[in-house]
Protein backbone atom coordinates (compact mmCIF):
# COMPACT_ATOMS: atom_id res chain seq x y z
CA UNK A 1 0.00 0.00 0.00
CA UNK A 2 1.47 3.33 -1.10
CA UNK A 3 1.77 6.21 1.37
CA UNK A 4 -0.88 8.21 -0.52
CA UNK A 5 -3.37 5.32 -0.13
CA UNK A 6 -2.56 5.14 3.56
CA UNK A 7 -3.28 8.83 4.07
CA UNK A 8 -6.52 8.53 2.04
CA UNK A 9 -7.58 5.58 4.21
CA UNK A 10 -6.71 7.34 7.48
CA UNK A 11 -8.44 10.50 6.28
CA UNK A 12 -11.53 8.48 5.34
CA UNK A 13 -11.59 6.81 8.75
CA UNK A 14 -11.25 10.15 10.54
CA UNK A 15 -14.14 11.59 8.52
CA UNK A 16 -16.22 8.46 9.31
CA UNK A 17 -15.49 8.76 13.03
CA UNK A 18 -16.41 12.45 13.07
CA UNK A 19 -19.54 11.75 11.05
CA UNK A 20 -20.57 8.99 13.42
CA UNK A 21 -19.91 11.22 16.46
CA UNK A 22 -22.22 13.88 15.02
CA UNK A 23 -24.89 11.50 13.73
CA UNK A 24 -25.10 9.17 16.76
CA UNK A 25 -26.80 11.65 19.15
CA UNK A 26 -29.26 12.61 16.39
CA UNK A 27 -30.05 8.96 15.80
CA UNK A 28 -30.51 8.37 19.54
CA UNK A 29 -32.93 11.31 19.78
CA UNK A 30 -34.92 9.96 16.81
CA UNK A 31 -35.16 6.48 18.37
CA UNK A 32 -36.30 7.96 21.69
CA UNK A 33 -38.91 10.13 19.95
CA UNK A 34 -40.21 7.14 18.00
CA UNK A 35 -40.47 5.09 21.22
CA UNK A 36 -42.30 7.96 22.94
CA UNK A 37 -44.76 8.32 20.05
CA UNK A 38 -45.41 4.57 20.10
CA UNK A 39 -45.99 4.71 23.86
CA UNK A 40 -48.40 7.62 23.43
CA UNK A 41 -50.35 5.87 20.71
CA UNK A 42 -50.51 2.70 22.86
CA UNK A 43 -51.79 4.79 25.76
CA UNK A 44 -54.36 6.43 23.48
CA UNK A 45 -55.49 3.04 22.15
CA UNK A 46 -55.73 1.66 25.69
CA UNK A 47 -57.80 4.61 26.83
CA UNK A 48 -60.12 4.22 23.83
CA UNK A 49 -60.55 0.52 24.61
CA UNK A 50 -61.06 0.86 28.34
CA UNK A 51 -63.11 4.06 28.35
CA UNK A 52 -65.92 3.41 25.95
CA UNK A 53 -68.24 5.78 27.80
CA UNK A 54 -68.62 8.67 25.45
CA UNK A 55 -70.17 11.87 26.63
CA UNK A 56 -73.51 12.24 24.91
CA UNK A 57 -73.84 15.87 23.81
CA UNK A 58 -77.63 15.47 24.11
CA UNK A 59 -77.39 15.03 27.89
CA UNK A 60 -78.01 18.16 29.94
CA UNK A 61 -74.83 20.04 30.82
CA UNK A 62 -74.50 20.16 34.59
CA UNK A 63 -71.98 21.67 36.95
CA UNK A 64 -69.84 18.73 38.02
CA UNK A 65 -67.60 18.89 41.08
CA UNK A 66 -64.36 17.01 40.62
CA UNK A 67 -61.95 16.74 43.55
CA UNK A 68 -58.30 17.29 42.82
CA UNK A 69 -55.48 18.47 45.06
CA UNK A 70 -55.73 22.17 45.92
CA UNK A 71 -52.05 22.58 46.67
CA UNK A 72 -49.30 20.14 45.69
CA UNK A 73 -47.47 20.73 49.00
CA UNK A 74 -50.38 20.97 51.40
CA UNK A 75 -52.04 17.78 50.10
CA UNK A 76 -55.65 18.78 50.60
CA UNK A 77 -58.56 18.24 48.23
CA UNK A 78 -60.65 20.99 46.69
CA UNK A 79 -63.60 20.77 44.28
CA UNK A 80 -63.18 22.10 40.77
CA UNK A 81 -66.44 22.79 38.96
CA UNK A 82 -66.60 21.75 35.33
CA UNK A 83 -69.66 21.73 33.06
CA UNK A 84 -70.25 18.31 31.54
CA UNK A 85 -73.13 16.67 29.72
CA UNK A 86 -73.86 13.93 32.27
CA UNK A 87 -76.18 10.97 31.92
CA UNK A 88 -79.02 10.50 34.40
CA UNK A 89 -78.16 6.80 34.64
CA UNK A 90 -76.10 6.45 37.84
CA UNK A 91 -73.67 3.89 36.39
CA UNK A 92 -72.97 5.90 33.23
CA UNK A 93 -72.81 9.07 35.29
CA UNK A 94 -70.29 7.49 37.70
CA UNK A 95 -68.12 6.36 34.79
CA UNK A 96 -68.24 9.84 33.28
CA UNK A 97 -67.22 11.66 36.46
CA UNK A 98 -64.52 9.10 37.35
CA UNK A 99 -63.06 9.31 33.83
CA UNK A 100 -63.00 13.09 34.20
CA UNK A 101 -61.21 12.68 37.54
CA UNK A 102 -58.73 10.26 35.94
CA UNK A 103 -58.09 12.62 33.01
CA UNK A 104 -56.73 15.05 35.60
CA UNK A 105 -56.70 18.83 35.99
CA UNK A 106 -54.87 21.28 33.75
CA UNK A 107 -51.99 21.41 36.24
CA UNK A 108 -50.65 17.85 36.30
CA UNK A 109 -49.13 18.40 39.78
CA UNK A 110 -52.63 18.65 41.23
CA UNK A 111 -53.85 15.27 40.03
CA UNK A 112 -54.68 12.62 42.61
CA UNK A 113 -54.61 9.52 40.40
CA UNK A 114 -51.77 8.30 38.17
CA UNK A 115 -52.05 9.45 34.53
CA UNK A 116 -51.79 5.89 33.21
CA UNK A 117 -54.58 4.52 35.43
CA UNK A 118 -57.98 3.81 33.93
CA UNK A 119 -61.44 2.69 35.01
CA UNK A 120 -62.07 -0.81 33.69
CA UNK A 121 -65.60 -1.35 34.97
CA UNK A 122 -68.19 0.13 37.31
CA UNK A 123 -71.19 -1.63 38.83
CA UNK A 124 -73.93 -0.43 41.18
CA UNK A 125 -75.76 -2.94 43.37
CA UNK A 126 -79.38 -2.39 44.45
CA UNK A 127 -78.28 -1.59 48.03
CA UNK A 128 -76.24 1.41 46.86
CA UNK A 129 -72.87 -0.36 46.97
CA UNK A 130 -70.77 0.52 43.95
CA UNK A 131 -67.83 -1.50 42.68
CA UNK A 132 -65.16 0.36 40.76
CA UNK A 133 -62.57 -1.73 38.98
CA UNK A 134 -59.40 0.18 38.12
CA UNK A 135 -56.43 -0.87 36.03
CA UNK A 136 -53.29 -2.09 37.76
CA UNK A 137 -51.59 1.27 37.18
CA UNK A 138 -53.72 2.77 39.97
CA UNK A 139 -51.80 0.62 42.45
CA UNK A 140 -48.41 0.48 40.76
CA UNK A 141 -48.00 4.11 39.65
CA UNK A 142 -49.38 5.93 42.68
CA UNK A 143 -46.75 7.43 45.02
CA UNK A 144 -46.50 5.07 48.00
CA UNK A 145 -47.58 6.57 51.33
CA UNK A 146 -50.56 7.05 53.62
CA UNK A 147 -51.13 10.65 52.61
CA UNK A 148 -50.96 10.06 48.83
CA UNK A 149 -53.05 6.89 48.92
CA UNK A 150 -55.69 8.51 51.11
CA UNK A 151 -55.87 11.51 48.79
CA UNK A 152 -56.45 9.17 45.84
CA UNK A 153 -59.30 7.29 47.51
CA UNK A 154 -60.84 10.44 48.97
CA UNK A 155 -60.81 12.13 45.57
CA UNK A 156 -62.76 9.16 44.16
CA UNK A 157 -65.30 8.96 46.99
CA UNK A 158 -65.86 12.70 47.21
CA UNK A 159 -66.26 13.08 43.43
CA UNK A 160 -68.86 10.31 43.47
CA UNK A 161 -70.55 11.78 46.53
CA UNK A 162 -70.87 15.19 44.90
CA UNK A 163 -72.29 13.94 41.62
CA UNK A 164 -73.97 10.54 42.02
CA UNK A 165 -76.29 10.44 45.05
CA UNK A 166 -77.24 6.80 44.37
CA UNK A 167 -73.75 5.60 45.34
CA UNK A 168 -73.71 4.98 49.09
CA UNK A 169 -70.58 2.87 49.48
CA UNK A 170 -67.67 2.02 47.25
CA UNK A 171 -65.58 -1.08 46.86
CA UNK A 172 -62.36 -0.62 44.90
CA UNK A 173 -60.94 -3.51 42.87
CA UNK A 174 -57.64 -3.56 41.01
CA UNK A 175 -57.82 -5.36 37.69
CA UNK A 176 -60.86 -7.33 38.82
CA UNK A 177 -59.28 -8.51 42.07
CA UNK A 178 -59.66 -7.54 45.70
CA UNK A 179 -56.30 -6.33 46.99
CA UNK A 180 -55.17 -5.82 50.56
CA UNK A 181 -53.86 -2.28 50.11
CA UNK A 182 -53.69 0.35 47.39
CA UNK A 183 -49.88 0.71 47.45
CA UNK A 184 -48.80 -0.76 50.77
CA UNK A 185 -50.76 1.42 53.18
CA UNK A 186 -54.43 2.16 52.54
CA UNK A 187 -56.79 -0.71 53.29
CA UNK A 188 -58.87 -1.79 50.27
CA UNK A 189 -60.41 -4.92 51.81
CA UNK A 190 -63.56 -3.12 52.96
CA UNK A 191 -65.94 -0.63 51.44
CA UNK A 192 -65.63 3.15 51.71
CA UNK A 193 -68.61 5.21 52.76
CA UNK A 194 -69.42 7.58 49.92
CA UNK A 195 -72.73 9.22 50.64
CA UNK A 196 -73.80 9.93 54.18
CA UNK A 197 -77.17 11.27 53.03
CA UNK A 198 -79.29 8.20 53.62
CA UNK A 199 -82.44 8.05 51.56
CA UNK A 200 -85.66 8.64 53.47
CA UNK A 201 -87.04 5.24 54.30
CA UNK A 202 -90.81 5.14 54.94
CA UNK A 203 -91.42 5.46 58.67
CA UNK A 204 -87.79 6.13 59.44
CA UNK A 205 -86.24 9.51 60.13
CA UNK A 206 -83.30 10.57 58.00
CA UNK A 207 -80.16 10.77 60.10
CA UNK A 208 -78.30 14.05 60.12
CA UNK A 209 -75.19 14.02 57.99
CA UNK A 210 -72.07 14.39 60.09
CA UNK A 211 -70.06 16.25 57.48
CA UNK A 212 -70.58 20.00 57.75
CA UNK A 213 -68.75 20.95 54.57
CA UNK A 214 -70.67 18.62 52.35
CA UNK A 215 -70.79 19.92 48.79
CA UNK A 216 -74.28 20.65 47.48
CA UNK A 217 -75.56 18.34 44.82
CA UNK A 218 -75.96 19.82 41.37
CA UNK A 219 -79.52 20.50 40.26
CA UNK A 220 -79.49 17.71 37.67
CA UNK A 221 -78.23 15.24 40.22
CA UNK A 222 -81.25 15.93 42.38
CA UNK A 223 -83.51 15.08 39.46
CA UNK A 224 -81.98 11.66 38.99
CA UNK A 225 -83.98 8.58 40.05
CA UNK A 226 -84.61 8.11 43.76
CA UNK A 227 -81.59 6.64 45.54
CA UNK A 228 -81.79 3.07 46.69
CA UNK A 229 -82.42 2.72 50.42
CA UNK A 230 -79.31 2.13 52.45
CA UNK A 231 -78.51 1.28 56.03
CA UNK A 232 -75.85 3.68 57.11
CA UNK A 233 -75.16 5.16 60.45
CA UNK A 234 -75.08 8.92 60.84
CA UNK A 235 -71.59 9.08 62.21
CA UNK A 236 -69.89 7.75 59.12
CA UNK A 237 -68.04 10.38 57.13
CA UNK A 238 -67.08 10.25 53.46
CA UNK A 239 -63.97 8.29 52.70
CA UNK A 240 -63.96 6.28 55.90
CA UNK A 241 -63.66 2.54 55.71
CA UNK A 242 -67.09 1.07 56.11
CA UNK A 243 -68.20 -2.38 56.99
CA UNK A 244 -65.53 -4.94 56.30
CA UNK A 245 -66.55 -8.06 54.46
CA UNK A 246 -66.33 -11.35 56.26
CA UNK A 247 -62.82 -12.65 55.98
CA UNK A 248 -61.34 -16.08 56.48
Amino acid sequence: MTPSWKSWLIGGLVVAVFGAAIYFPILRRRVKRAARLQQQSEEQARRELTQPIAINPGDPRVKTKVFWVSDAIDSTLAPVTVELPLSNDPVLRSKQVLNTLLAGPVDAELRTLPPDASLLAFYLLPDGTAIADFSEALATSIPSGIVSEQLAVNSITRTLEANVPQVQRLKILIHGQEVETLAGHLDLTGTFVVNTKVAQEPGKPTPTASSTDKPALPAAAEKTPTPVLATLTADEAPGKLGQTESRP
Binding site: S144, D235, K240
Partner: protein
Protein backbone atom coordinates in the same frame (compact mmCIF):
# COMPACT_ATOMS: atom_id res chain seq x y z
CA UNK B 1 -44.03 -0.56 73.16
CA UNK B 2 -44.09 -2.36 69.83
CA UNK B 3 -42.21 -0.53 67.08
CA UNK B 4 -42.93 -1.41 63.48
CA UNK B 5 -40.46 -0.21 60.84
CA UNK B 6 -42.71 -0.57 57.80
CA UNK B 7 -41.90 -2.46 54.60
CA UNK B 8 -38.56 -4.32 54.23
CA UNK B 9 -37.27 -7.26 52.22
CA UNK B 10 -38.44 -7.09 48.63
CA UNK B 11 -40.73 -4.17 49.50
CA UNK B 12 -38.64 -0.97 49.72
CA UNK B 13 -41.69 1.26 50.32
CA UNK B 14 -41.42 4.82 49.04
CA UNK B 15 -38.34 5.56 46.94
CA UNK B 16 -36.75 8.94 46.35
CA UNK B 17 -34.86 10.10 43.30
CA UNK B 18 -31.59 10.11 45.28
CA UNK B 19 -31.85 6.39 46.04
CA UNK B 20 -33.59 6.93 49.39
CA UNK B 21 -35.55 3.83 50.43
CA UNK B 22 -38.30 4.07 53.03
CA UNK B 23 -37.62 0.55 54.35
CA UNK B 24 -34.01 1.44 55.26
CA UNK B 25 -34.72 4.83 56.80
CA UNK B 26 -37.55 3.63 59.06
CA UNK B 27 -35.27 0.90 60.40
CA UNK B 28 -32.72 3.56 61.39
CA UNK B 29 -35.50 5.71 62.85
CA UNK B 30 -36.65 2.72 64.90
CA UNK B 31 -33.22 2.45 66.55
CA UNK B 32 -33.46 6.05 67.77
CA UNK B 33 -37.11 5.75 68.81
CA UNK B 34 -36.27 2.58 70.72
CA UNK B 35 -33.43 4.31 72.57
CA UNK B 36 -35.66 7.28 73.50
CA UNK B 37 -38.42 4.94 74.74
CA UNK B 38 -36.02 2.84 76.78
CA UNK B 39 -34.73 6.03 78.43
CA UNK B 40 -38.34 6.64 79.49
CA UNK B 41 -38.40 3.18 81.05
CA UNK B 42 -40.41 1.36 78.37
CA UNK B 43 -39.74 -2.17 77.25
CA UNK B 44 -39.52 -2.18 73.44
CA UNK B 45 -40.21 -4.94 70.93
CA UNK B 46 -39.62 -4.51 67.17
CA UNK B 47 -41.56 -6.25 64.42
CA UNK B 48 -38.37 -6.52 62.37
CA UNK B 49 -34.70 -6.08 63.21
CA UNK B 50 -33.23 -6.25 59.72
CA UNK B 51 -34.25 -6.31 56.10
CA UNK B 52 -37.15 -8.75 56.49
CA UNK B 53 -40.74 -8.12 55.43
CA UNK B 54 -43.19 -9.70 57.88
CA UNK B 55 -46.83 -9.71 56.71
CA UNK B 56 -49.32 -7.20 58.12
CA UNK B 57 -50.80 -9.96 60.26
CA UNK B 58 -47.38 -11.05 61.54
CA UNK B 59 -46.61 -7.51 62.61
CA UNK B 60 -49.98 -7.21 64.34
CA UNK B 61 -49.42 -10.60 65.97
CA UNK B 62 -46.23 -9.27 67.56
CA UNK B 63 -48.29 -6.56 69.28
CA UNK B 64 -51.33 -8.73 69.97
CA UNK B 65 -49.19 -11.28 71.79
CA UNK B 66 -48.15 -8.63 74.36
CA UNK B 67 -50.35 -7.59 77.25
CA UNK B 68 -50.91 -3.86 77.48
CA UNK B 69 -48.81 -3.05 74.42
CA UNK B 70 -48.82 0.22 72.50
CA UNK B 71 -48.08 0.01 68.77
CA UNK B 72 -46.28 2.54 66.55
CA UNK B 73 -45.71 1.91 62.84
CA UNK B 74 -43.09 4.16 61.20
CA UNK B 75 -43.35 5.40 57.61
CA UNK B 76 -41.75 7.88 55.22
CA UNK B 77 -44.12 9.36 52.62
CA UNK B 78 -43.62 10.04 48.93
CA UNK B 79 -45.42 13.38 49.11
CA UNK B 80 -46.31 16.17 51.52
CA UNK B 81 -44.37 19.14 52.86
CA UNK B 82 -40.78 17.96 53.51
CA UNK B 83 -39.76 18.28 57.14
CA UNK B 84 -43.22 17.62 58.56
CA UNK B 85 -44.68 14.60 60.35
CA UNK B 86 -48.25 13.28 60.54
CA UNK B 87 -49.82 10.83 62.95
CA UNK B 88 -52.66 8.61 61.75
CA UNK B 89 -55.13 6.52 63.67
CA UNK B 90 -57.43 3.99 62.02
CA UNK B 91 -60.75 5.21 60.61
CA UNK B 92 -63.88 4.20 62.45
CA UNK B 93 -64.58 0.48 62.33
CA UNK B 94 -67.92 -1.21 62.98
CA UNK B 95 -68.20 -1.98 66.70
CA UNK B 96 -67.46 -5.55 67.74
CA UNK B 97 -69.86 -7.59 69.84
CA UNK B 98 -68.35 -8.80 73.09
CA UNK B 99 -70.70 -11.71 73.85
CA UNK B 100 -67.86 -14.23 73.47
CA UNK B 101 -65.21 -11.95 74.96
CA UNK B 102 -63.15 -12.40 71.81
CA UNK B 103 -62.20 -9.66 69.38
CA UNK B 104 -62.44 -10.46 65.65
CA UNK B 105 -58.95 -10.42 64.17
CA UNK B 106 -59.95 -8.33 61.14
CA UNK B 107 -61.39 -5.58 63.35
CA UNK B 108 -59.05 -5.94 66.33
CA UNK B 109 -58.43 -2.20 66.43
CA UNK B 110 -62.14 -1.33 66.93
CA UNK B 111 -62.19 -1.39 70.78
CA UNK B 112 -58.96 0.63 70.94
CA UNK B 113 -59.86 3.51 68.62
CA UNK B 114 -60.48 5.98 71.45
CA UNK B 115 -57.18 5.16 73.13
CA UNK B 116 -55.36 5.29 69.79
CA UNK B 117 -56.78 8.75 69.13
CA UNK B 118 -55.70 9.99 72.59
CA UNK B 119 -52.18 8.60 72.11
CA UNK B 120 -52.01 9.90 68.52
CA UNK B 121 -53.01 13.43 69.53
CA UNK B 122 -50.31 13.49 72.22
CA UNK B 123 -47.58 12.38 69.82
CA UNK B 124 -48.83 14.72 67.07
CA UNK B 125 -48.79 17.63 69.53
CA UNK B 126 -45.12 17.02 70.35
CA UNK B 127 -44.28 16.57 66.65
CA UNK B 128 -46.03 19.85 65.78
CA UNK B 129 -43.88 21.69 68.36
CA UNK B 130 -40.75 20.29 66.76
CA UNK B 131 -41.61 20.29 63.06
CA UNK B 132 -43.36 23.45 61.85
CA UNK B 133 -46.11 22.86 59.30
CA UNK B 134 -47.16 19.55 60.86
CA UNK B 135 -50.84 19.21 61.89
CA UNK B 136 -51.80 19.87 65.53
CA UNK B 137 -53.89 16.74 65.94
CA UNK B 138 -53.80 13.22 64.57
CA UNK B 139 -55.80 12.31 61.48
CA UNK B 140 -57.80 9.22 60.64
CA UNK B 141 -57.11 6.97 57.66
CA UNK B 142 -57.83 3.37 56.74
CA UNK B 143 -54.30 2.17 57.43
CA UNK B 144 -54.20 -1.59 56.87
CA UNK B 145 -51.52 -2.22 59.48
CA UNK B 146 -53.55 -0.64 62.28
CA UNK B 147 -56.83 -2.51 61.62
CA UNK B 148 -55.68 -5.89 62.97
CA UNK B 149 -53.76 -4.51 65.94
CA UNK B 150 -55.44 -5.05 69.32
CA UNK B 151 -53.72 -2.20 71.15
CA UNK B 152 -53.58 1.59 71.09
CA UNK B 153 -51.97 1.97 67.66
CA UNK B 154 -50.73 4.85 65.53
CA UNK B 155 -48.89 5.33 62.26
CA UNK B 156 -46.25 8.08 62.13
CA UNK B 157 -45.46 9.24 58.60
CA UNK B 158 -42.55 11.58 57.91
CA UNK B 159 -42.42 13.74 54.77
CA UNK B 160 -40.74 12.76 52.59
CA UNK B 161 -38.42 10.78 50.33
CA UNK B 162 -38.36 13.81 47.99
CA UNK B 163 -35.84 15.64 50.19
CA UNK B 164 -32.52 16.47 48.50
CA UNK B 165 -30.46 14.08 50.58
CA UNK B 166 -30.88 11.43 53.20
CA UNK B 167 -29.24 13.71 55.77
CA UNK B 168 -32.39 15.89 55.76
CA UNK B 169 -34.40 12.91 57.02
CA UNK B 170 -31.69 11.73 59.41
CA UNK B 171 -31.78 15.14 61.09
CA UNK B 172 -35.46 14.58 61.88
CA UNK B 173 -34.92 11.25 63.63
CA UNK B 174 -34.03 12.59 67.12
CA UNK B 175 -37.07 14.91 67.10
CA UNK B 176 -39.39 12.12 65.99
CA UNK B 177 -37.96 9.75 68.60
CA UNK B 178 -38.34 12.36 71.34
CA UNK B 179 -41.96 13.14 70.34
CA UNK B 180 -42.97 9.46 70.37
CA UNK B 181 -41.25 8.84 73.72
CA UNK B 182 -42.79 11.93 75.33
CA UNK B 183 -46.18 11.03 73.87
CA UNK B 184 -45.93 7.50 75.25
CA UNK B 185 -44.91 8.79 78.70
CA UNK B 186 -47.82 11.25 78.74
CA UNK B 187 -50.24 8.56 77.54
CA UNK B 188 -49.17 5.88 80.03
CA UNK B 189 -51.20 7.11 83.05
CA UNK B 190 -54.44 7.16 81.02
CA UNK B 191 -53.99 3.63 79.61
CA UNK B 192 -55.70 1.10 81.80
CA UNK B 193 -54.51 -2.26 80.57
CA UNK B 194 -57.45 -4.59 79.85
CA UNK B 195 -57.61 -7.73 81.95
CA UNK B 196 -57.77 -10.03 78.91
CA UNK B 197 -54.97 -10.28 76.35
CA UNK B 198 -55.38 -8.84 72.87
CA UNK B 199 -57.28 -10.27 69.92
CA UNK B 200 -57.20 -13.96 69.38
CA UNK B 201 -56.41 -15.15 65.87
Amino acid sequence: MVLDPAHGGTDPGARGTGGIRESEIVLDFAVQVRRALELQGFQVVQTRQGNENPSFDDRSATANAQRGAVFVTLHISSTGLPGTARVYVNSDLPPVGNASGLIPWDRAQAPFLGLSKAFGDLVQGFLAQRFKGSPDTSQSASVRQLRTTAAPAIAVEISSVTVEGRADLDRMAPGVADAIARGAAAFKPSYIVPSAPGALP
